[in-house]
């Protein structure tokens, strides 16, 4: 794969991530605080954990551009997971952990 193709692929991945973030971030803050909500927020966490494990597989033998892109994606996913966990604590009434 040449540099242009890698950049194109990285751009596409970042675009997808942004869409995910917009969709799931909005969802995270608007869902009602009930049992169903816990399942949904847990789903968000699982979703990003799954993405992270997929991105991890791109690191082996990666050149500098791909490596940095993957790290950026994973940092974004970590923030989303942290946010979702915070929402989960709020749902469960654990304000201290939520903050």
């Amino acid at each position: 794969m040449n540099e242009a193709e890698i950049l194109k692929q990285a751009d596409k991945a970042l675009e997808e991530l942004e869409e995910d973030i917009n969709t799931y971030h909005a969802l995270a803050w608007t869902i009602p605080f009930d049992r169903e909500a816990i399942g949904k927020v847990q789903g968000i966490i699982d979703f990003y954990e799954l993405r992270k494990s997929q991105w991890m597989k791109l690191l082996a033998g990666a050149d500098e551009i791909r490596r940095r892109t993957v790290l950026e994606l994973m940092t974004c996913a970590d923030l989303e997971i942290e946010g979702a966990k915070s929402v989960l604590y709020m749902i469960q009434g654990n304000e201290a952990k939520a903050n």
């Binding site: 494990s53 597989k57 082996a60």
Partner: protein, 255 residues
């Protein structure tokens, strides 16, 4: 109230990383993940022809009697695999000695200090090298530094656990892992087999490829490398000759 095992919704709507899929779906998923698979060539023509290179997710066992050239062979692969970067765990010789044995220092990664008998530590350093440098290959020299022989209750089973742990790491992170193993005392006049790997037959049953090396006693610097088995290509017991040339092992033609 439906019992757990007759809760249709739970099973019909289940999706997750471990969900059951059809062979066609599986094929599609594997094709997509193959786009990012690492495949490296040894630049030893016979080996590359027999194995079609080394692929990510594979665990390769290199075994042979002491002084058969296992470490030098692995060092030669490190050089030949570039630009794919390797991470080295050189337990057997000091880092200073290890660096000096390269005729010209190539790029590879290594922890500053090594910790024996700790698989969690090994995994942490592999992930560090993956994040920091995007390594594709890992060399571990050698197996018996990964578990404590003194404390081991059942050496063979513990080696099996270590080997399975490494195989899982290779698959999870798309890495190629080379594991160097000693052999029990073998008669140097006879050709060694994978059954001679010290303490465990589980090494050969859990690894994808087994390479066995032994020195030719009647020559100064020649070694035989045997591809004892390769699960991917189905090769069994094929041999070629290597010799130390300019400080590294290179394939030589049979005379």
């Amino acid at each position: 109230m439906p019992s757990e095992d007759t809760n249709l919704d739970k099973y019909l709507n289940y999706s997750g990383p471990d969900q059951v899929v059809t062979s066609f779906e599986l094929d599609d998923i594997l094709k997509q993940s193959n786009e990012h698979a690492v495949c490296v060539k040894s630049k030893m023509p016979t080996l590359d022809r027999l194995l079609e290179g080394f692929e990510s997710g594979e665990l390769i066992a290199i075994s042979g009697p002491r002084k058969s050239g296992k470490t030098l062979f692995a060092q030669s692969l490190t050089v030949n695999f570039l630009p794919t970067k390797s991470l080295w765990f050189s337990y057997e010789v000091t880092l200073k000695q290890f660096l000096r044995t390269f005729p010209e220092l190539p790029l590879f990664m290594s922890p500053l200090k090594l910790k024996a008998y700790s698989l969690p530590w090994l995994k942490e350093r592999i992930l560090e090298a993956l994040f920091k440098h995007g390594i594709g290959v890992v060399f571990i020299d050698h197996l018996h530094f990964l578990f404590d022989l003194v404390r081991a209750r059942n050496t063979s089973l513990e080696i099996g656990q270590v080997v399975r742990f490494l195989k899982t790491l290779a698959i999870d992170y798309n890495l190629i892992i080379f594991l160097l193993c000693h052999m029990r005392k073998v008669d140097l006049t006879e050709e060694p087999t994978d059954a001679d790997v010290r303490d465990s037959s589980l090494v050969s049953s859990e690894s994808d490829t087994g390479l066995i090396m032994w020195r030719l006693v009647d020559t100064e610097n020649q070694t035989i490398v045997k591809v004892a088995y390769s699960r991917r290509t189905g090769v069994l017991d094929k041999k070629f000759k290597v010799a130390k040339i300019n400080g590294l092992l290179r394939e030589v033609q049979n005379e």
